[in-house]
């Protein structure tokens, strides 16, 4: 059996699941805990949990995640044999010491990271009147722990001039005119909306993309990007690392072909722009670009703090340092020699109980993953959450505005709690079905969501509903329905299936395209029959009695509450069937329409010998 990486056959234990809660797994390995006590084995409770982002994409998602984590703690299944396991650079102190850096005005560098972990209301980014610093209102009372920012609110806020108007929006590879936007129709409208004087409400939009995606048409200035095959890039421990539980890892991409058209790698463009604008950190004392070679230079020479850069492997003068060490001019050569990957293995004695394992501290500290050999306390009760809740209860100098007080008090419970999701529409109006999407797996094998091969795998998406629901609603395969939410409606074809919950309907995301985009024919199935649920999800909740509209987010983290969506289905009239709606004016690509077939590889067909054709 020759699997590429020595894949092993997975075996089932055959033990019933309840036994796992009664059993322990032991691994013989000596280790020293944070107090200095030596142990000769790791003991674990073999209960492991798996969830993807769907848990957090609700307005009560943060507390649900907390509840799952609390359950893991009480079961004793955190970073132990058989349980949940950390991947480097985690675990970190909770909360991590990095706080979001306040904005300091034009031509000044931030004093820290733009995203971070507030520990009390004092760390929020508010001006003296309590107005948010950031255009997305991250780290304001609307989303105090917005450690990922609120991408989905940026267009709305810029359009509304709330908290302030801006001059230019600059996007990279985020299809905000289509499947990256909550409420795509209004996002499109806001990006082209004008004030009484005829000026755009969002005066300028810059966009970088490698494709003619739906977003390109809304840009005043387009930076044509390269593909991954034509650029330097990295998968860094500072972002979303590729580590595994037994080792830290990162990787680079390197150009394997040169672009044959007028495009530049987006990161090179950013660094070039930064130097031309003479931004601090982008130029040296003489005003010369610090990274004239673009991202390739930045990967090697940029230090976030002394010794810590984008890449963890082969640092230091002797190329022997991991994680932390002086920049090494030959670092990228070493990556290339190693197949573009680096991995630093964790010693066996440091692979479990890493929140309290001195052997792990001894490994992690010189690599810059931890600062101090200090136990990381897993918190049943979260003190930072309580600080925000106290403010809502009237304590301290910095308190939430009245209209947010109750929300903060409820959602910042220091112990995990549950409250009904805000966005779930009232059942009594018939919106009783949960509607969710997932990205097709095959799109993960390609950078773009659209190419000539992927669309042969799938070029249109139905709405999948339970067969029993179909029976109840009189719907059969191939019927068309209106999917209605309190926000809007979209038309889709029905596909019945067994393997879906009776109260849930779902579809594939990002199959539906706008006519004229992606160089597809104007009548391609992606635009004629493919659809997005985004059209019926609002970025705002319905108005309060006083007219105020909350963002459709988790009030703790600002995470977009995509999965709060509830809908009802209405069968289409016969004359309505066959095509999706709403439809938008076809885009008019400033490029020649791609036509005909493809025969990649035909050029390799030189004369072959009979033997090469497989005949002995």
């Amino acid at each position: 059996m020759r699997g590429r990486r020595g894949h092993h056959q997975a075996h089932r234990s055959g033990a019933p699941a309840e036994a796992a809660f009664e059993q322990a797994i032991e691994i013989r390995s000596g280790w020293t805990d944070w107090t200095g006590r030596y142990h000769d084995k790791f003991v674990g409770r073999p209960v492991s949990m798996h969830a993807m982002r769907g848990v957090s994409a609700h307005s009560n998602g943060f507390q649900t995640c907390r509840a799952i984590h609390l359950l893991q703690m009480l079961l004793g299944s955190i970073d132990c044999p058989g349980g949940f396991r950390y991947k480097p650079p985690f675990p970190k102190a909770a909360p991590p010491p990095a706080k979001p850096a306040a904005q300091v005005g034009p031509m000044h560098a931030l004093h820290g990271l733009p995203l971070g972990f507030p520990q009390s209301p004092d760390d929020l980014l508010l001006d003296i009147d309590g107005k948010p610093h950031r255009i997305d209102k991250a780290f304001s009372w609307e989303a105090p722990l917005a450690v990922h920012g609120l991408m989905h609110m940026v267009i709305h806020n810029a359009w509304a001039g709330d908290p302030y108007p801006i001059d230019t929006l600059f996007f990279y590879m985020a299809n905000m005119a289509w499947n990256s936007a909550m409420n795509a129709p209004d996002a499109m409208r806001m990006m082209s909306d004008k004030d009484e004087s005829g000026q755009y409400k969002i005066p300028h939009i810059i966009y970088a993309d490698a494709y003619f995606s739906e977003m390109v048409a809304y840009a005043d200035l387009v930076f044509p990007d390269t593909t991954y095959l034509e650029r330097w890039d990295c998968i860094s421990l500072l972002d979303r690392p590729i580590s595994d539980p037994d080792g830290a890892g990162d990787a680079i991409r390197r150009p394997v072909i040169q672009p044959d058209r007028d495009v530049r790698p987006f990161q090179d463009v950013l660094l070039d722009l930064g130097a031309r604008l003479k931004l601090p950190g982008m130029i040296d004392g003489n005003g010369k670009a610090l990274y004239p070679g673009g991202l390739k230079d930045y990967l090697v020479w940029h230090e976030r703090r002394p010794g810590i850069g984008m890449l963890a492997g082969w640092r230091g003068h002797d190329e022997d340092k991991q994680g932390m060490g002086e920049p090494n001019r030959r670092q990228l050569d070493r990556y290339v020699e190693n197949g573009c990957f680096w991995r630093g293995e964790i010693p066996e004695k440091a692979r479990f109980y890493r929140f309290a394992n001195r052997d792990f501290f001894d490994w992690a500290i010189p690599r810059g993953f931890l600062d101090k050999p200090q136990q990381i306390v897993l918190q049943l009760y979260s003190e930072p959450l309580r600080k925000f809740q106290l403010a809502a209860e009237g304590h301290g100098t910095r308190q939430p505005p009245e209209h947010l007080r109750d929300r903060v008090r409820q959602s910042f419970d220091p112990l995990p709690c549950w409250y009904p999701p805000f966005g779930a529409a009232a059942d009594n109006e018939g919106y009783v079905l949960h509607a969710i999407t997932q990205r097709p797996m095959h799109m993960y094998h390609s950078w773009g969501s659209q190419n000539a091969w992927l669309r042969q795998i799938q070029a249109r998406n139905p709405l999948f509903i339970a067969r029993k629901l179909g029976d109840r609603l009189g719907l059969a395969d191939g019927d068309w329905v209106w999917i209605e939410s309190p926000h809007g409606s979209v038309k889709a074809e029905i596909k019945l299936m067994e393997g879906v919950n009776l109260d849930t309907v779902w579809t594939w995301n990002a199959i539906g395209k706008r006519a004229g985009a992606w160089s597809l024919s104007a009548t391609a199935p992606e635009s004629a029959k493919g659809f997005l649920l985004n059209h019926v999800i609002s970025e705002l909740l319905p108005p309060q009695p006083d007219g105020h509209r909350y963002a459709n987010i988790d009030p703790v983290t600002g995470q977009a509450a995509w999965y709060d969506l509830k809908v009802r289905l209405r069968k289409c009239m016969p004359q309505e069937a066959g095509e999706t709606a709403p439809k938008f004016d076809p885009l008019d690509p400033p490029l020649p329409q791609a036509r005909g077939g493809l025969a990649y590889g035909a050029e390799f067909r030189a004369h072959r010998t009979r033997a090469e054709r497989g005949r002995a």
Partner: protein
């Protein structure tokens, strides 16, 4: 009309595909297309690449369907490519000798210089594994990546079919199914791998491993299926904590 090898070796190279763990991600299909459109039978033509009816030549296709009803139902992701049969009617039916089975390893190939595009082989194949290239006018098919598995310019670890090399979950295995002691043969024996439609007598080399049984019991925790009754109505949250408190103090 075309003969099978008179003195075939015992070697039968093929694939073992695990239907228990395939999740239908299409990585194998895409990597197959990627390799083979530059390989032995290049190109794997695409028709109307940007048009209203996108279609093209693929050597490996994944069929997703449901089997069973209700709680017993499951989604099946069924990857299908040429099975390199021991009794391949697609070969014996070929009027020109273009379709042939190799004596040394059992791989079924097409010699495009001899193919007249009559499509008899695709009619003869009960598995629908043949792919006619309308643009070139010849029949194409899975070569078991003959240009990888014997390619000494590749590292040893890479000398497997592209579909096997890329599968992220290890659901595809490659080896000699004519050797009862090979890893793939042992795997087939252990997991009761089976032939597709054996009653037709084509004796396919590729094997499929069935889904494991016992799935229905996998979720049993002993916990009641219904939520525990609501406790005092005074507190707004922390029902989870109350449940845990009860559970842990039993």
């Amino acid at each position: 009309m075309t003969s099978l090898p008179a003195h075939a070796s015992d070697r039968k190279l093929g694939l073992v595909i695990d239907l228990d763990i395939c999740v239908g991600c299409h990585a194998c299909a895409v990597n197959c297309k990627e390799w083979n459109t530059g390989g032995h039978m290049a190109p794997l033509t695409d028709y109307e690449a940007w048009g209203d009816s996108p279609a093209g030549v693929w050597f490996n296709r994944i069929h997703a369907f449901e089997a069973g009803e209700g709680a017993n139902g499951r989604t099946v992701h069924f990857p299908k490519s040429c099975l390199h049969c021991a009794q391949p009617a697609c070969v014996t039916v070929c009027p020109t000798g273009a379709s042939f089975k190799r004596a040394e390893d059992g791989i079924v190939l097409v010699d495009e210089d001899l193919c007249i595009g009559c499509k008899l082989c695709s009619w003869a194949c009960p598995y629908g594994a043949r792919e006619f290239d309308e643009d070139v006018g010849v029949m194409k098919k899975c070569t078991l990546c003959i240009d990888r598995i014997y390619n000494d310019k590749l590292e040893e670890v890479d000398r497997v079919p592209a579909c096997v090399a890329t599968c992220p979950v290890g659901a595809r295995h490659f080896g000699d199914l004519g050797d009862p002691n090979s890893e793939v043969s042992k795997l087939v024996a252990e997991r009761e791998g089976y032939d597709l439609m054996p009653e037709l007598g084509y004796k396919p080399t590729n094997k499929y491993l069935p889904p494991r049984t016992g799935r229905a019991q996998a979720g049993c925790t002993g916990a009641p299926a219904k939520p525990l009754s609501e406790a005092s109505p005074d507190s707004t949250g922390n029902k989870l904590l109350r449940w845990l408190d009860r559970a842990l103090s039993r």
